[in-house]
């Protein structure tokens, strides 16, 4: 927390120092650069709307801050980390891949795999008793070639 505060103060001092000095030479980061970062963030004020398109005042401020941070030379990851520290993990578009949050990523594949295994085991059991077929064997038809002709002839016979 302490360390973070120092960073904050440092950034703040930097921004004061460089306002008007550095910016006169280097142009501010463009909207596109800002949006590239902002599109990966969600502000708690307008939930489920990415920051780059959220129209509220709070989000506009966030974008300005990102612009400032980019101008200060912070990397994308540093900026995201700054927002997580300040506003919590929910600013990220998905849970951070750490600790307990891994559960979010691991559970669906495990369940899907379990479902697949169950299905294939069922397949095996179903396909095994070949002998016990129930008179539907005639249906065993080659679907590619003559099936249609046969089918329609059959149908015509029936209908006429």
């Amino acid at each position: 927390m302490k360390k973070f505060l120092y960073t904050l103060i440092f950034i703040f001092l930097l921004s004061i120092l460089f306002t008007g000095v550095a910016f006169a030479q280097e142009p501010l980061p463009s909207d596109d650069e800002v949006n590239a970062v902002a599109s990966q963030l969600y502000c708690p004020v307008c939930e489920s709307t990415p920051l780059d398109v959220c129209p509220t005042e709070a989000c506009r401020q966030w974008r300005d801050l990102i612009r400032q941070q980019l101008a200060d030379g912070m990397t994308e990851d540093q900026i995201k980390q700054y927002f997580v520290d300040n506003y919590g993990a929910r600013v990220l578009a998905e849970p951070p891949k750490q600790g307990y949050f891994w559960l979010a990523y691991l559970l669906p594949p495990v369940l899907i795999l379990a479902g697949a295994i169950m299905l294939f085991r069922s397949f095996k059991v179903w396909t095994k008793p070949q002998a016990a077929s129930t008179g539907l064997d005639e249906e065993k038809s080659d679907p590619s070639k003559d099936e249609y002709v046969a089918r329609f002839e059959e149908e015509i016979k029936k209908r006429n």
């Binding site: 909207d31 397949f123 249906e139 065993k140 329609f152 002839e153």
Partner: protein
């Protein structure tokens, strides 16, 4: 007066519905046909009654009765009349009444059919529908009453249904007005479409429950509800597509689908509903999967109710969600009761739901349908987990998290691709039996053609591997499906001597579900083109422009010409509209007018994009900001969304396909229950996707 009338009628219909539950249960258990008939008539009475109540509400809305709290919340004087009518479902209380009204209409329709052979289902179908109706009407009457009025009690304004002591009625001058987001024509029909889809899934569920309760668990309930589930699926799908279109046109974030929890809540029943459409065919053709179909119907209904609950109780927060509402606990109780009762019934009847035949080949059509079901369930697992995980995280760690688009896109992209592949292969496999050889022989021409298309695209359009895989699969579906049409038609031509068009139309007419399903496959492939385009090739840029300055993106050049701002007091809107000239490769191709509409009554901005849509790409321009004083500078955000138009084209084809498949030709109940083997083979049925 009208408000009391409306409330009174709603109360009466509530009581009538309660009566029909008891009469139906009594009639079924005591084998009293007259009691069941009485229950049926009571059920039929609810529809005209709720229509009256709804009429009263619409009258209040249209005539600006702002002393009614609901009218005050959702309308204002400046709104045109048609919007005042549609404001009926623009707020929680009204939309619950709308739900009830639709449910009563559907239940009436279903109880009016000929029941002779299925009379034992009737009382239980009435019970399930009436319980649902009683629940929704109960919420209207006890918690979210649209007829509540404002009363002046001791100097303060309070909402009450009936006049408190010493109170006088209080009438505000004007109402809040409908949320501007809901004033778009797409939004006028998007919610009712979704509700229609939701409500119509109650009917298959009611039949499934009736089958479980009576123990008559053969295919009968499936045959009876086949068409219902198709129509339900139509409304739900169409509602989702309309929602996407609305988001694209009005929400102003350059996309149509944001993986918002509320969107997902509506998407989840669609997933199980689609899986059901496929697996139900296996039961019809092969007598298999009876358990699974039962589970799918229950799951669909549960997801409809659960999704409605999540979004209306304030458990999920989102742009779409209704504000915190008192209906939460009651809804929770209903969700729990239906879920527990359904599961208990399935477990109780499990032994009677047994399969008749076995699976013979892992490549048979039924096996591929099962794979299809596995994929839909997998997508459901991802979606469900994505919606639920933030709740778990908040509860156990106190940390709120967002589960957003990257999570869903990464997890579902391979699943959707596999589904595309399946819908290319499955139509070529036969019921009962297929081998690698038969499949290979059927598919190789289409696969070769699709490969040619993909290679061409590689040299001319993109070298992204994901996109190429996607385009290959899309091309494969299209070729396979057209080949199916072609082969069937040729076969008929040879056998019948018909000309090509007659052969095609008779072929399709005799196998509506099959060929309707193929049309739907084609539409899915077209929609996939649009989705691939926007997901993989979207580009955007943003810039502040002074007058006559330009912004360039993907071959387009935008030139900012002017900006005007004016008020329309009558409509209660302030419009700010920019004029932007568009050039492509240096050539003038037209102007676009992105707008920001500010609604005074609700103090809300709407960002309306200027959009130039072609088959190749959409140029989508948003007005982000402008300098208010001089109007010389403005900030624009510009998206180029390649191929997205195919999404909407696909949606229209989809509509054609499903109407074709679901259009009533003859009463399914009239069909003979048992068929000969040849007939069964003839009926190789549609694979809907």
């Amino acid at each position: 007066m009208i408000a009391e009338f409306g409330y009174g009628i709603a109360l009466v219909s509530f009581l009538v519905a309660v009566y029909s539950i008891f009469a139906a249960v009594y009639g079924a258990t005591k084998k009293s046909a007259s009691m069941v008939e009485s229950a049926r008539r009571a059920m039929l009475l609810t529809f005209p009654l709720i229509s009256l109540a709804a009429g009263a509400l619409i009258y209040l809305l249209v005539t600006n009765q702002f002393n009614v709290a609901f009218v005050y919340e959702v309308t204002s004087r400046s709104m045109p009349t048609y919007l005042k009518v549609t404001a009926w479902w623009g707020g929680q209380a009204g939309s619950l009444l709308f739900w009830s009204w639709l449910l009563a209409a559907f239940t009436s329709a279903v109880t009016l059919r000929k029941w002779d052979r299925d009379i034992e289902f009737l009382p239980w179908v009435i019970v399930v529908c009436s319980v649902t109706l009683v629940f929704f009407l109960g919420m209207v009457i006890f918690y979210e009453n649209p007829f509540t009025r404002f009363w002046l009690v001791n100097g303060s304004v309070e909402p009450h249904m009936f006049a408190p002591l010493n109170a006088t009625i209080f009438t505000p001058d004007d109402g809040n007005g409908l949320n501007p987001l809901l004033r778009h024509p797409g939004m006028v029909i998007h919610p009712p479409m979704l509700y229609l889809g939701f409500v119509s899934y109650v009917i298959p569920y009611a039949f499934a429950m009736a089958a479980l309760i009576t123990g008559r668990t053969d295919d009968r309930w499936i045959r009876l509800t086949r068409r219902w589930s198709l129509w339900a699926w139509l409304f739900l799908s169409f509602g989702l597509v309309l929602g996407g279109r609305w988001a694209y046109d009005v929400l102003g974030w350059g996309g149509y689908w944001g993986w918002d929890p509320v969107e997902i809540a509506a998407f989840m029943p669609w997933l199980t509903g689609t899986a059901f459409l496929h697996s139900v065919m296996i039961q019809e053709k092969r007598g298999m999967l009876k358990h699974w179909n039962m589970i799918l119907v229950i799951l669909t209904y549960a997801l409809v109710i659960f999704g409605t609950f999540l979004t209306r109780s304030g458990v999920l927060s989102s742009v779409h969600a209704f504000a915190n509402s008192p209906i939460g606990p009651l809804f929770m109780g209903f969700v729990s009761t239906t879920l527990v009762a359904s599961i208990a019934l399935v477990i109780y009847r499990w032994p009677t739901l047994r399969s008749e035949t076995e699976m013979k080949s892992m490549l048979s059509r039924e096996a591929l349908f099962l794979l299809n079901n596995l994929l839909f369930m997998s997508i459901l697992v991802v979606c469900f987990w994505g919606v639920i995980f933030p709740l778990i995280s908040e509860l156990f760690t106190g940390q709120k998290v967002t589960v957003g688009p990257p999570f869903y896109e990464r997890a579902t992209a391979p699943l959707f691709s596999a589904l595309l592949f399946l819908s290319a292969v499955a139509p070529l496999s036969a019921w009962g039996h297929s081998t690698i050889q038969t499949l290979g022989r059927a598919i190789w021409k289409s696969a070769a053609a699709a490969a040619v298309v993909t290679i061409t695209l590689f040299f001319t359009y993109t070298n992204k591997i994901g996109a190429l895989i996607g385009f290959f699969l899309i091309a494969l579906i299209l070729f396979v499906t057209f080949q199916e049409f072609w082969r069937g038609t040729r076969a008929r031509q040879q056998a019948q001597g018909e000309n090509f068009l007659t052969a095609l139309s008779r072929l399709m007419g005799r196998n509506r579900r099959r060929y309707g399903g193929y049309i739907i496959h084609i539409s899915m492939a077209l929609m996939a083109i649009g989705i691939l385009g926007i997901e993989l090739f979207q580009t955007s840029t943003q810039g502040a422009l002074a007058k006559d300055e330009t912004l360039t993106i993907s071959g387009y050049t935008l030139q900012y010409k002017e900006l005007a701002s004016w008020e329309d007091r009558g409509e209660g809107v302030n419009y700010t509209r920019a004029v932007v000239d568009i050039f492509k490769d240096g050539e003038y191709i037209g102007e676009l007018n992105p707008r920001i509409d500010y609604y005074f009554d609700s103090q809300q901005n709407m960002t309306i994009p200027g959009n130039r849509s072609t088959l190749k790409d959409d140029l989508y321009v948003l007005l982000v900001d402008w300098q208010p004083v001089s109007a010389v500078g403005a900030t624009f955000k510009v998206y180029v969304n390649p191929l997205v138009n195919w999404l909407w084209i696909g949606s229209l084809v989809f509509l054609v396909g499903i109407v074709f498949a679901a259009w009533p030709d003859r009463d399914p109940a009239e069909e003979p229950a048992r068929r000969s083997v040849t007939q069964r083979a003839n009926q190789t049925s549609a694979a809907d996707d």
